[in-house]
């Protein structure tokens, strides 16, 4: 584990109590300068267990009741259900048996904790565009320390608005709350969506209004506390501390102190990986490439968000289309230079998709990349930026061409040190360089293979008699490999005035060939 991560995690929560003495209206927050106040935004993804199965762009009819269940001792409980299921009174907490008795059309998923954690980590990467301090919790919640980001995003309101709209695009339902301590923000997001607690006085009353159940304590203690008539945290706060600790466990006091900012609450910040791996499952297999586009757009958006966070680019994308019965279709999309422009990546992929024939319906689509690469160019230099833009546009053109036409159809050319005229040049990657050489007069066009000329009275002939130059250039070389040549090259003019480059073989039968046009 990198050391700096732990160190940077320390000071945040310690500062919370100092800050808590001042009342600062939200609007003033962005106007304040150094030091930025600590402010925690908690985003609670209420339907995360279900979303990992049903998130857009897979298609589940809106009136199809869906729910996720989880084993709990001997029976299974519903942990999350969609709106259609709620209309059938299938609420979280009821047993699976009860749910089945309420409707017969319930589509059921078993909770997938691994997928949920992975989804939450992807969201943490996405959240990296707002702050570098993101915490992934075990309670379907992300904690973002946004105190230092407010000025950049023009204040709390516009930042929250932007977060809300992007999460809607990503297809997650969420609740959020702002607070001055991390754990209270998480608690409020779960219990009082939209709460904004900006000072210590508000904090006590807001935390006090939360039900004890929301603390996720051991069931024994929850039952005990309910038994003594404590249903809300404010009831708990009124109890004598020693007594509470003796009857329950000392860590409950600890939790309460951290909620209120009386005790440091160091957080472990998420550090994004240097590669990307994303997958979307389709509940309904897709048999048409057009319908893959939204999924692709989605994955590319997640990828470019990750790249922005890491200040990097990728130099190739690997797409895997998973089929039920057949091997996966794998498409590798190489890029000429590390890139993170989502529109460009989408255009490239679109080109590929248009010519893709699906061997079978697609169950899932996955996008993986190699290690993130530094972007070309030096972004610190204002003038280099213009050159970088030009460079980016040039490679963008090449990539678009090579994606559709395949790379052997898009090339550059360079000289090659070789006397045989047909080998005195080579195709190369566009922009490549070769040796600098000087030649005698050469034609602008070379025929890809020399064309035999007919002769009349021993003289070459093409649409009439040819007028030959008096001088010729003898090229005799290549004895070291199998393509030995011996030729006398002439320039010739047809009766129409077209200038040709022709040669005569030295070996009998001494045939004439047309090799180029001047």
């Amino acid at each position: 584990m990198p050391r700096d991560r732990i160190e940077s995690a320390q000071p945040l929560a310690y500062t919370a109590p100092n800050y808590a003495t001042k009342a600062t209206p939200a609007a003033d927050l962005c106007a304040r300068t150094d030091p930025s106040p600590t402010l925690w935004l908690a985003i609670y993804f209420s339907d995360l267990p279900l979303a990992v199965f049903t998130r857009k762009p897979t298609r589940i009819e809106p009136d199809q009741p869906c729910a996720v269940c989880q084993e709990d001792g001997t029976n299974a409980l519903i942990v999350c259900s969609n709106a259609a299921a709620l209309r059938h009174n299938i609420v979280p907490g009821i047993s699976l048996r009860a749910a089945h008795s309420l409707t017969t059309s319930l589509q059921l998923f078993y909770r997938n904790a691994v997928a949920e954690h992975a989804a939450l980590e992807r969201l943490a990467v996405w959240a990296g565009r707002y702050t570098s301090k993101v915490v992934v919790t075990e309670t379907q919640t992300l904690l973002l320390e946004i105190g230092g980001s407010l000025r950049l995003f023009h204040g709390v309101d516009s930042l929250l608005k932007s977060i809300d709209s992007e999460l809607t695009v990503l297809g997650y339902k969420h609740r959020r709350a702002l607070s001055i301590t991390p754990s209270s923000a998480g608690l409020l997001a779960r219990t009082q969506s939209g709460a904004q607690v900006l000072d210590a006085a508000q904090l006590t009353s807001a935390v006090g209004a939360a039900p004890i159940d929301a603390l996720n304590l051991d069931k024994r203690y929850t039952k005990l506390l309910h038994g003594i008539g404590a249903h809300y945290l404010r009831d708990l706060l009124r109890l004598p501390r020693e007594g509470l600790a003796r009857r329950t466990a000392p860590h409950i006091l600890h939790t309460l102190d951290q909620l209120l900012g009386h005790r440091p609450d160091p957080q472990h910040f998420y550090s994004p990986p240097r590669t990307y791996k994303g997958q979307l499952e389709f509940s309904d297999p897709i048999d048409n490439t057009d319908r893959l586009s939204p999924a692709i757009q989605h994955l590319i958006m997640e990828l470019t968000a990750a790249l922005r966070t890491a200040c990097s680019g990728v130099d190739s994308l690997t797409w895997t289309l998973r089929h039920y019965a057949l091997p996966d279709t794998v498409m590798v999309l190489p890029l000429l230079a590390p890139n993170r422009d989502d529109r460009h990546l989408q255009e490239l992929m679109q080109e590929r998709l248009e010519r893709l024939i699906l061997p079978a319906p697609v169950d899932a689509i996955a996008l993986t990349t190699g290690l993130f690469q530094p972007l070309p160019g030096n972004a610190m230099d204002a003038f280099a930026d213009i050159a970088l833009q030009e460079y980016t546009r040039q490679t963008a053109l090449l990539e678009r061409l090579q994606t559709r036409l395949d790379s052997s159809s898009v090339t550059g050319m360079r000289l090659h040190d070789e006397h045989r005229p047909e080998k005195a040049w080579q195709y190369c990657t566009p922009g490549g360089t070769g040796p600098t050489l000087q030649y005698d007069a050469r034609p602008l066009w070379l025929l890809s293979s020399a064309r035999p000329l007919s002769t009349r009275d021993g003289q070459p002939y093409l649409h009439g008699r040819l007028t030959l130059s008096t001088e010729c250039e003898r090229i005799e070389t290549g004895w070291w490999d199998r393509n030995r040549i011996g030729r006398d090259y002439f320039s010739a003019i047809t009766v129409n005035g077209v200038r040709l480059w022709i040669y005569r073989e030295l070996k009998p039968p001494r045939r004439w060939f047309l090799h180029g046009y001047f």
């Binding site: 030649y439 007069a441 070379l446 005035g497």
Partner: protein, 211 residues
């Protein structure tokens, strides 16, 4: 007032032999052509149609301009579907920086038009040379728009039989071989009457050097 308009607009027809005064063309390297061509050179951000038979050395007319562009610009000199191999030793002899050359060999005609449009539109090519078997007015209009968007000179080489077709190109020239060189006929130029023929001897073609 009228003078003002003439100075700033290249697309106003003025009759006679006066070429438009807005000099934003790419200098051809031949004084006589610079005087006759609209904008004082190969038109930038527009199409030029070069009607010529295969094997005619029409490319010789472009060499000075290409050599100059390859050194003064960082942009591509793009060749779409050349009929033969553009011979690198001759291009290097002509002073062209080969690393600026981008060759595109599409296999199908639809890909050819697509690639041509992409190259013209991208704004990363100083000039795009393309060889078309035939093109109708609709295609040319589309390419013309792409050339305007990318501020790219589009030079289309077409067979001489296309001369009867209507064309939106800013400049149309017919290049024919003559016993000791080339003749150039200006069939259409934006803002002026047809002109020519202009004769080039083989020696004058080779003597031309970029300004």
């Amino acid at each position: 007032m009228t003078q003002d308009l003439f100075e700033h607009r290249a697309d106003i027809w003025r009759g006679g032999n006066t070429p438009p005064t807005v000099r934003d063309g790419i200098p051809t390297g031949f004084d006589v052509l610079d005087r006759l061509f609209p904008g004082g050179g190969w038109p930038r951000g527009a199409l030029t149609e070069i009607l010529t038979e295969e094997g005619t050395s029409a490319l010789q007319l472009l060499m000075p301009a290409l050599a100059q562009l390859s050194h003064s610009h960082k942009r591509w000199i793009t060749w779409v579907a050349p009929p033969h191999i553009p011979y690198a030793p001759a291009l290097a002899n002509g002073g062209i920086d080969l690393s600026k050359i981008l060759l595109i060999h599409p296999r199908r005609n639809t890909d050819l038009l697509w690639a041509l449009e992409q190259a013209l539109r991208s704004g990363t090519c100083s000039v795009v040379l393309a060889w078309l078997a035939g093109g109708n007015d609709k295609i040319l209009r589309r390419l013309q728009l792409a050339a305007e968007t990318g501020r790219t000179a589009g030079l289309l080489f077409c067979p001489p039989r296309n001369v009867e077709q209507h064309s939106t190109a800013a400049l149309r020239v017919q290049v024919d071989p003559s016993p000791d060189g080339l003749t150039v006929d200006i069939i259409k130029r934006r803002g002026g009457w047809p002109a020519g023929p202009v004769h080039f001897s083989g020696a004058s073609l080779h003597a031309a050097r970029p300004h």
